[in-house]
Symmetry: C2
Subunit: 331 residues, 2 copies
């Protein structure tokens, strides 16, 4: 069962790699192939981690590290693009010129403006918003270009070829550790239960009761302190995001990749938004440290930072709501 | 019944005025007396407004205008003090050095910091927070001093003495309009019902369904646009705040001032917070327009503005939650 799952994910990996190579100048196809490549790399790595005891552990740890390096390197470029898009659309919304995303189930959003809002904005602060947008675009486009070069360099490296070779072997042959001949379902249960236990422990350490109170203003605490203070607060949530992913992959091994648990997938998406908003908030704070920017630009970046921290808090609220519906309970 | 209520409020007014005159250099006693003076001025004015048809209308309108001028003038000084306190404590919270106000019923707030947060903040942005605090203190202290002078000047004016004389007359003698001899309860019902109807109409025009979705990001729309755009959005809520107050005063006429409806009082406090946060957010945005401020100061003011707009949104959420429990339904 485990070998079959790993074989299938390695086949996905190799197919995505071929598609990426064939994509040439078609950036949309390249992005899609790179995304699929990262997706299978994460699944292979996660499975090697969770079911480590059933495999050759030294080999599993080493390949997992290499797959982590690969997916991390490939992720950067697309993360920069997504972050820029998130920040620029938030600036549009904050200036009253963009659409307001409605909360789930709220239906069409009534427009607060009487038609004069978006056109009238010739004030200094709207100038600030457009300057802030230009600054972020410059900084994040530069970061993306660097990430793109780093990704190309990685894909041409001997280190990458070694990973691809290892995955090619794994696509047909899984080095299982010798285990006593129990039924597959039983052997797989212990690592999967351990993964679930790590997830539950991490979730129970989250301040969920606090997150359940809307507008608790938790995510903006340290909004003006040094960045590392805010990051301390986010870390347990990021950790749950990773453990939830491992748990989902472990479930896939049992179920095949066909039927993901919709509630867990939704909880994962809430934590993805949490991570994206936290990183976007950090990018806005970082841009505000650029020397010699105008006060209006800095002001707009401050509003933008707080707005994204608010989305961090909203994602936590959303996660705890979804988590109440999840089937994952203490075993 | 109406005359009795007005007599009693006018007696409150005159007693507060005497206490204010006797307070001398005791600023706490002066503040308390001024607050009581405004409180009775608002009640007298509100009652004259609601029960206008039962009174001499020309006289009622004129006295109401004068009482509005008086309570507005007296309110400014204390509003500046409260606004400064609100903004400075928000800056403390945002810098991780102040206490985080817990949401209602959340119990003690867990500290997110591991003891290093508040001490470590020697970064540029914490400098920004303290500079922003100093700028706001300068601006709002100046505004308060001006308001204090204006209040003193008003209390010494012949315009004020005319108001005080009118209230002194009203303390013993109410110029009721001639009405057909129906029972008092019935005569008072029509104006009270009309006041309730105006409140209900205004509440039903509020975007309560949207406010019921936490983190709808509504209050930050136009967060970077010109200030007047944001104020357009707040106006209906401010209007409901005033109508709710008139409704409460009209209820007092029936019940005596003894037993206020606790739910309506709570709803009123939520709208007071809405107004206070909206004005604090405007003060932060306004301070950011000061020429030649440092980018770090402007950034901190941006975060602060967004934080207060978030409190605006939180107050709307709170109001709609309280409103669901209110006994006020369509008559």
């Amino acid at each position: 069962m485990l070998a079959g799952y790993l074989n299938a994910r390695c086949a996905d990996f190799l197919r995505s790699l071929r598609l990426y190579g064939e994509s040439g100048s078609d950036t949309a196809a390249a992005a899609e192939a790179a995304s699929a490549l990262r997706c299978s790399a994460r699944r292979i790595g996660g499975t090697l981690h969770t079911f480590r005891v059933l495999l050759d552990p030294v080999w599993a740890d080493q390949l997992r590290t290499e797959l982590g390096w690969l997916s991390g390197t490939l992720a950067q470029e697309y993360a920069c693009t997504a972050r820029l898009h998130r920040l620029v659309s938030a600036l549009g919304r904050l200036s009253g010129s963009g659409p307001v995303p409605g909360p789930p189930g709220s239906g069409p959003v009534p427009t607060a403006s009487n038609g004069e809002g978006s056109a009238a904005g010739a004030g200094a602060l709207t100038v600030g918003a457009s300057r802030a947008g230009a600054l972020l675009e410059r900084q994040l486009t530069l970061a993306r270009t660097r990430s793109h070069s780093a990704a190309l360099q990685a894909l041409g490296s001997s280190r990458f070829h070694a990973v691809a070779d290892a995955v090619a072997v794994l696509a047909s042959e899984v080095p299982l550790a010798p285990v006593a001949g129990a039924p597959a379902a039983e052997i797989l249960t212990a690592p999967r239960t351990a993964a679930e236990r790590r997830l539950l422990d991490a979730v129970s350490a989250l301040p969920l009761a606090r997150a359940a109170h809307p507008y608790n203003a938790e995510a903006l605490v340290y909004g003006l302190a040094t960045p590392s203070d805010g990051e301390t607060q986010d870390a347990p949530w990021h950790q749950v995001r990773l453990l939830l992913r491992l748990h989902r992959y472990a479930q896939e091994v049992r179920q095949g990749s066909g039927s993901p648990d919709p509630v867990l997938a939704e909880a994962g998406r809430a934590l993805d938004r949490h991570r994206d908003a936290a990183e976007a908030a950090a990018a806005a704070a970082n841009a505000a440290r650029t020397p010699r920017i105008a006060p209006a630009t800095a002001y707009a970046l401050g509003v933008l930072h707080a707005d994204q921290r608010l989305e961090v808090e909203a994602a936590r609220y959303e996660f705890q709501r979804i988590w109440q519906r999840t089937a994952v309970t203490a075993p």
